[in-house]
Subunit: 141 residues, 2 copies
Amino acid sequence: MLSKKTQYAFRALTDLAENYGKGPIHICDIASRKNIPLKFLENILNELKKSDFLESKKGKGGGYVLKHSPKKINLAAVIRIINGPIALLPCVSLNFYRRCEDCNEENCGLRRVMAMTRDATLKILEKKTLQDILSGERLII
Amino acid sequence: MLSKKTQYAFRALTDLAENYGKGPIHICDIASRKNIPLKFLENILNELKKSDFLESKKGKGGGYVLKHSPKKINLAAVIRIINGPIALLPCVSLNFYRRCEDCNEENCGLRRVMAMTRDATLKILEKKTLQDILSGERLII
DNA sequence: TAATATCCTACCAAATTAGTAGAATAATGT
DNA sequence: ACATTATTCTACTAATTTGGTAGGATATTA
């Protein structure tokens, strides 16, 4: 399951997408509109900034802005930054690979199935973007 | 990611599948063959028994046996028992549904995408069985 | 230089995960 | 009946992760 932090991240990014083009958005506006603990949200937006999803400006008139169009930010990328691996086993993770103990990877049946589910999941999450989850959007399959 | 406990569960079930038809298998044989902490494995096999995957026999000649053929045990069912929900959000879980706060489900874009990924994942995990992950098996997609 | 807003370091509490200890119970063979 | 064997149950404990909080440092603008 996605952590609460990840759900907060999606809610905050959605808010920024809804206000895309309006200049920097205050973190406290996002926090109050989306009902997210302010100080926790600071951490989250900071991580997203470090990972190049956001730009920020300090001081009066400051705030956060999406660095790229909502159409360019895919959900898998956000999950990887805030939540971690998408695969169900470390040994099939593309971005967080770790070998599993006592397992001959070439010949591990569980690994083969988990690689399939990873692919099926990524096929969706890498295609869907922030734009696709805005509440007004119709979802085209 | 699947917990270590879940990976142990799969390894143990695989061992029981490999020895299917040979009568009760000692838990300490499974533990040593598959390198799983014995007392931890006790908990796991007990849960699997309570969930009707295994039968057990006490005393001399006792041990654990798969209650059904390895072909009948699908991976999603095992994950649900030992690991919990398969869906990425509680509000799209079929077996562990919980409403999420501050979210209008009818109109939540994230929810729609997460329902799609759940379906894609289940399509695989509910079809694949213990038999499919035995190391000798060829995986037919 | 005051006001504003992000940035950074360092905590803290609660929950979950991973594992252990030891006695109770049941089945079997002698 | 009784010793042996193996599962079952209750109850801990330690380590890690998750979900937050506090407070000062830094940068920007007016």
